[in-house]
């Protein structure tokens, strides 16, 4: 069993469409993979529909329906979109993540021994990445300036705040440095959204900080 859910208010922000694309993607993955968050999201969907349905009907122009019907002649009904095929090696990705995993992007080794695929989301200045960690390996000790949002997609990891499994959601651990380590089993894959660059805190990591800040690594 997991148990790391996103807070209700973040699920609400997601359901109303108010989040930036990267964070919205992270919450969507969490909702797709974690049953408790899924149920809350479904209830929020019900609430949204019910609020709309309970609105008192506003007056429309008398000819509004006729004008709309007249336009339908030129509007085809789109077939249900076919799901994007699964790219080999990416079977863990839920269907709506697949369009982001085109062949142009592949795992890239980063300092500290983990691999990264950076996702390009339009209109989002956050760093949105998939990270892959071999069991027993971890991210270098670092701390955060801005918020960090993590959702686990395969395997799991542990740090001082607990153990995280598939579907679990973690909101940045705050100003304390942390050092997540991948659990035994398949490699840990997670989507991470960073509002600000991290700050490496180990003695050898510190000299990399200028590059991290400039987004070069």
């Amino acid at each position: 069993m997991s148990g790391h859910s996103a807070p209700d208010e973040l699920l609400l922000d997601w359901a109303t469409g108010a989040l930036a694309p990267g964070l919205a993607l992270a919450v969507a993955l969490h909702v797709a993979l974690e049953p408790v968050a899924r149920r809350t999201a479904e209830r929020l969907g019900d609430v949204a529909g019910a609020l709309l349905e309970r609105e008192a009907a506003a007056d429309l122009d008398e000819d509004a329906l006729d004008r709309t019907l007249a336009r339908l002649g030129s509007v085809g009904i789109e077939p249900r979109p076919a799901p994007t095929p699964v790219r080999p090696g990416f079977e863990w990705a839920p269907p709506f993540l697949r369009p982001h995993l085109d062949l142009a992007r592949d795992w890239r080794r980063v300092f500290g021994g983990f691999e990264e695929i950076r996702l390009a989301l339009p209109h989002d200045r956050h760093r949105v990445s998939l990270l892959r960690l071999t069991p027993g390996r971890g991210l270098p000790m670092h701390r955060h300036v801005g918020a960090e949002f993590t959702v686990v997609l395969q395997g799991g990891y542990s740090d001082a705040t607990g153990s995280y499994r598939v579907g679990d959601f973690a909101v940045g651990p705050g100003p304390e440095p942390h050092e997540p380590i991948a659990d035994p089993g398949p490699p840990c894959i997670a989507l991470i959204v960073l509002e600000e660059p991290i700050v490496l805190t180990s003695p050898w990591g510190r000299w990399l900080n200028p590059l991290v800040r400039r987004g070069l690594i």
């Binding site: 609400l12 469409g17 969507a28 809350t40 999201a41 019900d46 709309t68 269907p95």
Partner: protein, 184 residues
């Protein structure tokens, strides 16, 4: 309009381009979408225009509707919301695809029985909104109707962030609690 009636009408459009079904949906939902948009701050003329555009999208996307995933009301809300976001932020941000929003609710292989359940739960939630306090409802309505984050709402209402968070959490636990009681 019951969830089943609404879902049948959307499916009739998908199956046979049923214009009578569309007209029925339009008469019921377009005035509500217009009211929803006006509550979010649109003027009457723009609200009517966007409501019509939203209904045309209901027609165009009818084949993507899946009653196992969500009620027709929820699906129509999502379409109306995206049309409003399009309008408000045309320059700054592309619309979130409605399909993405609802795609996470159910995977293809989930069983068909879920459709009955989805409709029933929706109807029950609609009733249960009366159980929420006026303060809770205010925050949630603002979020859904004005496309604001909970922190923007806190700022606008001049309330501490913690107060807004706890209203949201209390409202949702109330819904969850009552729904669980129904099941037992």
């Amino acid at each position: 309009m019951t969830p089943d009636e609404a879902a049948d009408l959307v499916e009739a459009i998908a199956a046979r381009q049923d214009r009578a079904a569309f007209a029925q949906l339009f008469r019921y939902w377009a005035p509500r979408i217009k009211a929803f948009l006006m509550r979010g701050g649109s003027d009457a003329e723009i609200a009517q225009e966007v409501a019509q555009e939203a209904m045309i999208r209901v027609w165009r996307k009818a084949a993507s509707f899946d009653r196992r995933r969500a009620s027709a009301a929820t699906w129509i809300y999502a379409i109306a919301r995206n049309k409003r976001i399009d309008l408000a932020r045309r320059a700054s941000r592309p619309a979130i695809e409605t399909d993405d929003w609802l795609a996470v609710f159910a995977t293809e292989e989930e069983d068909a029985d879920k459709s009955v359940l989805a409709g029933q739960t929706y109807s029950r939630v609609k009733e249960l909104l009366d159980d929420l306090s006026a303060e809770q409802l205010l925050v949630i309505r603002k979020a859904f109707f004005e496309d604001k984050t909970h922190s923007a709402i806190a700022h606008e209402l001049g309330l501490p962030l913690g107060t807004v968070k706890s209203r949201i959490r209390l409202a949702l636990s109330r819904l969850r609690e009552r729904l669980e009681k129904d099941v037992r």
